[in-house]
């Protein structure tokens, strides 16, 4: 009895510790964002005077609202394209025999390991020459590329779980491989699509290297790049309050995704490692 209670207590303490450590930095940002500009540098953990001024401030500035629009649009489009391309490739990899399959897998694996900084210079030069610098496509292209390996691997591991007899049944009934794909497999694979989409979206939402290198104005600057170059409210004030408030705002979608789709995200991220 005694040991059982100790066990419960031990796990409870471990759980509590993890929750506190995981949430503390986020709560600190929330607290900072609610501080009033005059007390923001007072070094206290909690605001002495609560205010929403910082939030009103950033939503009044087009540097932030434009960045939010860019972040949402670019991440959504990159996700859509990456998931579509990856779905086709993952289906082929999981289900079909064709030459060059290994090459595709090795290429994806290499790109998963590729250092993005190594293509920043050439892309910067290319994009300026062909007019993609500081545009949405200028970011969408690298995002979908670097998300593809993750998307292909996650989705092909989902595709392997699907009861493929149904596909064969459809083909016996006279469906072409293409029809079997769209009519039978796509609906079954929807959870895999969705999980992959969440992971790709988080990836694109998160990026900073490309965002800060390949954009220069509010036309395409995303939130991470905008936060890093926030001006203060005036020349003499530090932008701490704006940074904290903007940081909290971009964290909200992540928290929503995590709260609603924890199981899917964990399944998606672990799907790969299981099949060693």
């Amino acid at each position: 009895m005694e040991t059982k209670r100790n066990k419960y207590f031990g796990w409870g303490a471990a759980n509590a510790l993890i929750v506190v450590v995981a949430l503390f930095p986020v709560l600190w940002l929330v607290s900072l964002s609610l501080k009033d500009p005059t007390t923001i540098a007072d070094g206290r953990l909690l605001p002495s005077k609560w205010t929403f001024e910082n939030y009103e401030g950033i939503f009044d500035q087009s540097i932030f609202t434009d960045a939010l629009r860019n972040s949402l649009g670019i991440a959504a489009i990159a996700t859509l394209i990456a998931v579509s391309l990856a779905a086709m490739a993952a289906y082929a990899i999981a289900r079909l025999e064709f030459p060059g399959k290994r090459v595709v897998l090795i290429a994806s694996l290499s790109i998963a390991m590729f250092p993005p900084i190594s293509v920043v210079g050439p892309l910067y030069d290319l994009w300026r020459n062909i007019g993609l610098y500081d545009t949405w496509p200028g970011l969408i292209i690298p995002y979908m590329t670097f998300a593809l390996p993750l998307a292909i691997f996650t989705m092909s591991s989902f595709f392997r779980e699907i009861p493929w007899e149904l596909e064969q049944a459809a083909q016996v009934d006279g469906a072409t491989p293409y029809q079997a794909f769209t009519k039978v497999i796509v609906p079954l694979a929807a959870p895999g699509f969705f999980t992959t989409a969440i992971l790709v979206f988080i990836f694109a939402w998160n990026d900073f290297v490309f965002a800060t290198s390949l954009t220069s104005t509010q036309a395409a600057q995303t939130v991470p790049a905008a936060i890093s170059s926030f001006p203060g409210a005036s020349q003499f004030t530090a932008p701490t309050g704006s940074i904290a408030a903007a940081a909290v705002v971009v964290t909200v979608p992540i928290i929503i995704l995590v709260l609603f789709f924890q199981r899917r995200i964990v399944a998606g991220l672990t799907a790969g490692a299981v099949k060693g």
């Binding site: 949430l23 930095p25 025999e97 050439p122 390996p149 491989p177 490692a273």
Partner: protein, 327 residues
């Protein structure tokens, strides 16, 4: 991915997947059937778009980077571009800045990955075995994983920065701003990285833990093995491939570290923690020296290649061993 992170990508030992589909291979494959040919065609058509995009946006630029790295090319003096052979590499490899920054990168990678492996294993064990609250732990642990790296870096910078009203210097009663000292900025960078990426490590390890059967543990228990012995003699050996995969991805990701260092060093101004990625960025986009910057990019690429090759050699042996053992 940064797939930082984040780009972190959970791709585990998938190198052999191409061969793990024996069921699909037809016995008499000398004769290519109509369906077989259609399948090949469909397969190639389906992978083509993804493959072309991946090649076009990575292979082409890296080749272009190699070309640029052999030029004297400074965007501020565009007319003064000429082929200079390896002289960019010579000047980089002869500069102390490169070696200092490489050392920073290696040290930061080594320290954070070791800490993350230990903490990640503990976190994975809690996620796997806790008697209650597993969902809660998994959900909260995903917040650092999902949070924007720049935001995480700011959370830690604003907590430690004396000048920006951080609570840490006040709480610890420090007179000097921790972010003005080399030790302080390193500790902050390590904490920020470890906090952000331990959950990812833990999730990769969790996948490995799930493969360790309870029956083995029960059998060892009956034989009188303690929990500690079972962990080292059963769990760890069985998880070895998962551990190597997690280490591979985290090491490569840590080596590419950019966001955290960039934010903590005040947009690359404080160079006491500068890493090779930040150095490349500054050379390319602040100094606009495309030639030198591209040479740096190529060198970073080569370093990553070497790390990957070492891990894949380790992993390859292991995967082959476990693969044949399983069949």
């Amino acid at each position: 991915m940064s797939v930082q992170a984040s780009a972190g990508v959970p791709v585990a030992g998938r190198g052999t997947d191409g061969e793990t589909e024996p069921a699909r291979k037809q016995p008499g494959k000398k004769v290519m059937t109509e369906r077989g040919r259609a399948e090949r065609k469909l397969g190639l058509m389906l992978v083509a778009p993804a493959a072309i995009v991946m090649l076009a946006v990575t292979a082409y630029p890296i080749l272009y980077a190699v070309y640029l790295s052999l030029q004297r090319s400074d965007l501020r003096f565009p007319d003064d571009t000429e082929f200079v052979g390896l002289s960019n590499y010579v000047s980089i490899l002869g500069s102390s800045r490169w070696w200092t920054d490489l050392w920073h990168t290696v040290a930061l990678t080594g320290i954070t990955v070791v800490i993350e492996l230990v903490l990640g294993m503990l976190l994975a064990l809690v996620m796997h075995r806790a008697l209650f609250g597993r969902g809660l732990v998994r959900t909260t642990a995903l917040i650092p994983y999902g949070i924007v790296t720049v935001v995480a870096a700011f959370a830690w910078r604003l907590a430690f920065s004396g000048a920006e009203g951080g609570f840490v210097p006040v709480a610890l009663g420090l007179d000097d701003d921790p972010l003005n000292s080399t030790t302080g900025i390193w500790i902050t960078a390590i904490l920020a990285e470890v906090w952000k990426t331990t959950p990812f490590m833990a999730l990769l390890l969790l996948a490995g833990l799930a493969l360790v059967s309870d029956e083995l543990h029960e059998a060892a228990k009956v034989d009188g093995a303690t929990g500690w012995q079972r962990f080292w003699k059963i769990t760890i050996p069985l998880m070895k491939p998962a551990i190597l995969v997690a280490l591979l991805f985290r090491t490569l990701d840590a080596f590419r570290i950019f966001d955290t260092v960039f934010i903590l060093s005040n947009s690359g101004v404080n160079r006491s923690v500068e890493t090779v990625s930040v150095l490349s960025y500054n050379t390319l986009l602040t100094r606009l020296n495309l030639g030198l910057g591209s040479a740096l990019s190529v060198l970073v690429f080569i370093c990553v290649g070497i790390i990957a090759a070492v891990f894949i050699r380790l992993l390859g042996k292991d995967t082959i061993a476990s693969g044949t053992g399983g069949k």
